[in-house]
Symmetry: C2
Subunit: 198 residues, 2 copies
């Protein structure tokens, strides 16, 4: 579907990003970058995900395993509900709090995607922001408890995965669906294509 | 998540509808209904899917295996592009034609969902229509050929599956995502709940 002129590195440990990229036939190495993910004080979520995806790409290129010939793809996804940034829940109570906050209203999912390519001895980095609006049905306590018992909530920003059984909570999406999973595929493929066409 | 007062029968052979329903913890028997799926002349797609879901539910209840105590759930999904109804492709050329038609533009996905419940010796049937707008990226011939080679296109209305690798073609969705897979889950659960509350 897309032939890349350089070896590709995915600077993310997310199994969902890996599956999305493998699904479209891309081959890549996985090299997650450990960075400080604390938001700056009053940092808007859009700036936060752009900054984190840029920092993840940079950290991955600083790794002793990195090669100057590689392209790096990094991403960061966050959920914004009533102005609050929702990251992965700390524990089951935190997940309950997030799902209660999402119940019966709209929220936004923001992903920053960064592609860094080798260019005449230097590198060129490009970052995009993709935002999707998601509307949840009303969730009663029994439904939230049932969902927490499935174990799906804990490793996901905002405490849900649209591709899992929480798909039943999502009344509507306005925008990219793969963005809500963690990597907006159509936009990411376009960015990879543009970044490698000279 | 939802306790039903009657045994549930799914009048559909679609593995995707089965997975969506199982995913939310429902138990059900599967009894696909064979009906004539030819559209009436000039039948609008919205009427077509409502009529077919109603007829599928009725045919399933006419089966010698049916019991008056059962609830029946039936659904029919179709894709409408430039006013044309796209069903499952007849062959690879037909799938190519459909994907070329979808490329770079919006289309609509319509699902009719019918629930029939036993009610004081009789039955009550309710049918809803759910419509989602889907926007495809531009697809070049190499991408379409690559997709046809995956084999994903052939058993799906409109020749694509949003939950598969064709998710990469979908720039945006406006509305229910599970509707595009073949069964709008939030709306179907609400219909099951309403149909069984007296």
């Amino acid at each position: 579907m897309l032939d890349l002129p350089h070896p590709l590195v995915l600077a993310s440990g997310s199994p969902r990003r890996r599956e999305l990229l493998s699904g479209v036939g891309l081959r890549f190495a996985v090299r997650p970058a450990g960075i400080d993910e604390t938001p700056l004080s009053d940092e808007p979520p859009q700036n936060y995900v752009r900054r984190l995806s840029t920092e993840k790409a940079a950290a991955s290129m600083d790794s002793p395993l990195a090669s100057p010939a590689e392209m790096v793809l990094a991403a960061d996804t966050t959920v914004e509900a009533k102005g609050e940034i929702l990251e992965k829940p700390l524990d089951s109570d935190d997940a309950y709090r997030m799902l209660r906050l999402l119940s019966g209203r709209d929220h936004l999912v923001h992903t920053g995607v960064t592609v860094s390519v080798p260019l005449a001895g230097a590198r060129r980095s490009s970052t995009i922001l993709v935002t999707t609006k998601v509307t949840f049905a009303d969730l009663d306590d029994a439904t939230i408890d049932w969902y927490l018992a499935t174990g799906e909530a804990m490793d996901k920003a905002g405490a849900y995965g649209i591709q899992g059984v929480a798909g039943a909570f999502v009344e509507r999406v306005d925008g990219s669906v793969t963005n809500v999973i963690g990597l907006p595929l159509a936009e990411t493929l376009a960015l990879l294509r543009e970044s490698t066409s000279t």
